[in-house]
């Protein structure tokens, strides 16, 4: 027996007991999933001179329709976190005040957008600090423990789930409320534009005509628990993180490091490649990311496994992406249906992988979610019935 199988047998199982996606597409997981099944995308063309001198495509909230974001006295970022956590805990029997419950927040930029319109002073610096926002959210709901904040570029969401899994398995906590959010403003959009990384049309993941990312905003929450009463729920089996040690903004040329994270995830989960039914890829639609990711998937022997990218619906939601896309994939497992990759038409990576283009019913047990980000980081996580 391999060590990793021993790991599965000695570690308590971690169940997903409730979740929420609060996005421009919908404000509950069910609403988001139904609308995506209908092919609805949050991506639209925007004219907003405060954010960009030129028109741009993005998946953004429409404020007049989202009164909940204006209702709170908090910033938009904190409002997003609160709206999503609120949606998830309504569904679950979670004692947020228990010393066995922890809040984990994932974000890349938090309130950094405040720099666009506010004078720089120590007060602003404190407002922007991610630990300040996390504490505001924790206090809003009455969490007893200090919240934990993960900020690790575009793998933050997956890392937050993986961190939650580990903290629960260590026995210190029984419940983890994992929430991620990012907003899109001038700071983020201008940055990706300066990299020539933003597509002039809605993004086309893995397609031969892809020209870059489309950004999106949103929030998502996943509540994890080791309580055996949730034994019929979908589990987080394992995960892995690696670094390319190659370049701070360009992905690995070989995909070897993401592949290593995937293989570590499989070993930790006690599974082999044949056990994987679905891959929810990062699929940002930049030339380099999709090429690297396809190489990594092929290197791991997973090139025939049905795969999709959800960026055509949500855009790249940064610190929320790992959570939003994991929750949609878990919903795919529950409903036994694979979602098509909106924007994909013709295979555009040198190692072809099995990109889904149709709404496809399939009995499934497991899903692998992957992501990579600036700083050379890669992550993968495995969900199973």
């Amino acid at each position: 027996m391999r060590n990793e199988n021993i790991y599965q047998s000695i570690m308590p199982a971690v169940y997903i007991v409730a979740d929420n996606i609060y996005s421009p597409i919908g404000t509950t997981t069910a609403q988001n999933f139904e609308r995506i099944k209908q092919g609805i995308s949050g991506i639209q063309k925007h004219q907003n001179k405060a954010i960009s001198g030129t028109d741009f495509y993005a998946s953004l909230f429409n404020y007049s329709e989202n009164n909940i974001l204006n209702k709170f006295k908090y910033s938009k970022f904190e409002g997003l976190l609160i709206a999503s956590v609120d949606g998830a805990i309504k569904e679950a029997d979670v004692d947020v005040k228990s010393d066995k419950t922890i809040l984990i927040v994932s974000s890349t930029k938090g309130n950094t957008g405040m720099l666009e319109t506010n004078a720089d002073d120590p007060g602003l610096q404190k407002k922007i600090a991610l630990h300040t926002s996390a504490k505001i959210v924790a206090d809003h709901f009455g969490f007893a423990n200090q919240p934990l904040v993960v900020s690790n570029a575009c793998i933050s969401g997956i890392m937050a789930i993986l961190t939650g899994m580990r903290l629960l398995q260590s026995g210190k906590y029984e419940t983890a409320v994992v929430v991620g959010a990012d907003e899109i403003g001038k700071f983020v959009l201008s940055g990706f534009q300066s990299f020539q990384a933003v597509s002039e049309e809605p993004c086309k993941p893995f397609d031969q005509n892809r020209t870059g990312i489309t950004l999106g905003e949103g929030a998502a929450t996943m509540i994890l628990s080791t309580n055996p009463k949730y034994g019929d729920k979908i589990k987080v089996l394992g995960g892995g993180v690696s670094n390319d040690a190659n370049h701070i903004s360009a992905p690995s040329r070989t995909g070897k490091e993401l592949s290593e994270a995937i293989e570590r995830t499989l070993r930790m989960s006690g599974l082999v490649t044949d056990d994987i039914d679905l891959i929810s890829a990062h699929g940002t639609a930049t030339s380099y990311n999709d090429e690297m990711e396809a190489k990594a998937i092929a290197l791991s022997g997973l090139d025939t496994v049905p795969a999709n990218s959800l960026k055509g619906y949500y855009g790249h939601t940064l610190g929320a992406a790992g959570l939003i896309e994991s929750i949609i994939s878990v919903q795919s497992l529950k409903q036994n249906v694979i979602l098509p990759t909106l924007g994909f038409e013709t295979m555009g990576v040198s190692n072809p992988i099995n990109i889904c283009t149709q709404l496809t019913p399939k009995r499934m047990k497991t899903c692998l979610k992957t992501a990579s980000g600036f700083g050379g980081c890669n992550a993968s996580i495995l969900f199973s019935k």
Binding site: Y7, V150, N152, F187, Q193, S194, N243, E257, F374
Partner: protein, 210 residues
């Protein structure tokens, strides 16, 4: 669980002094942060042209790691056995502000790429060819209890064989870096990897007496 991991090296860079294993090895009291970081780089007598393009946060973390790993056996590990678990209070705000200033003129991709705190981890991994698990956490204050538990978990579950962990924070001219090399085997002058020892070193209790 009985866990026996050790802090086999530590580094502190604060108030324009560099300490290796709590002993001062370099100081340059009158320099601003940028000039101080450059003087530490020159003191180390390494040639690494990428250093010059880094932001102050990456420079500080990179320099601290250079000192931390001096005289260590880090090369005995495979790339995927070495990981970094770092934390700070201000993420990349120091560079966020510089980038935002450039937006009014021409947004600078060279500045934008440093507007994530884990870019520092990327720079350290590129330099040392580390490919193991990394993570960046944000705390109001250094959280030794969390670091001890999380890193012990990674080591005891064999996710990593050795881990560089600690705190690297920069905002304007205020900064502090404290890094620990944690290994599974005891070495000369090693101390047990515990929250108490992390805090003793972090708070510079020994250093302040010098």
């Amino acid at each position: 669980m009985n866990i026996n991991n050790y802090i086999t090296s530590n580094v502190t860079i604060v108030k324009n002094v560099v300490y290796h294993n709590e002993r001062p090895i370099f100081e340059n009291r009158d320099a601003d942060l940028s000039a101080f970081l450059l003087s530490v780089y020159q003191h180390l007598e390494v040639s690494y042209p990428k250093f010059y393009k880094m932001d102050n946060l990456s420079k500080l973390g990179w320099l601290a790691t250079e000192v931390l790993l001096k005289d260590s056996d880090i090369k005995q590990y495979q790339p995927e056995e070495v990981g970094l678990i770092l934390s700070n209070a201000n993420a990349s705000l120091d560079s966020d502000k510089r980038y935002m200033q450039s937006v009014a003129d021409i947004p600078s991709p060279a500045l934008f790429v440093y507007t994530l705190p884990n870019i520092m981890i990327g720079e350290i991994c590129i330099r040392n060819h580390f490919k193991g698990e990394d993570a960046f956490f944000i705390f109001e204050k250094f959280d030794a209890v969390f670091i001890e538990q999380y890193v012990n978990g990674l080591l005891s579950n064999n996710v990593l064989q050795t881990c560089i962990c600690g705190w690297v924070d920069v905002l304007n001219e205020e900064y502090k870096a404290v890094l620990f090399l944690v290994e599974k085997t005891k070495k000369a002058n090693a101390v047990p990897f515990s929250a108490k020892n992390l805090n003793v070193i972090f708070d510079n209790l020994v250093i302040d007496k010098l």
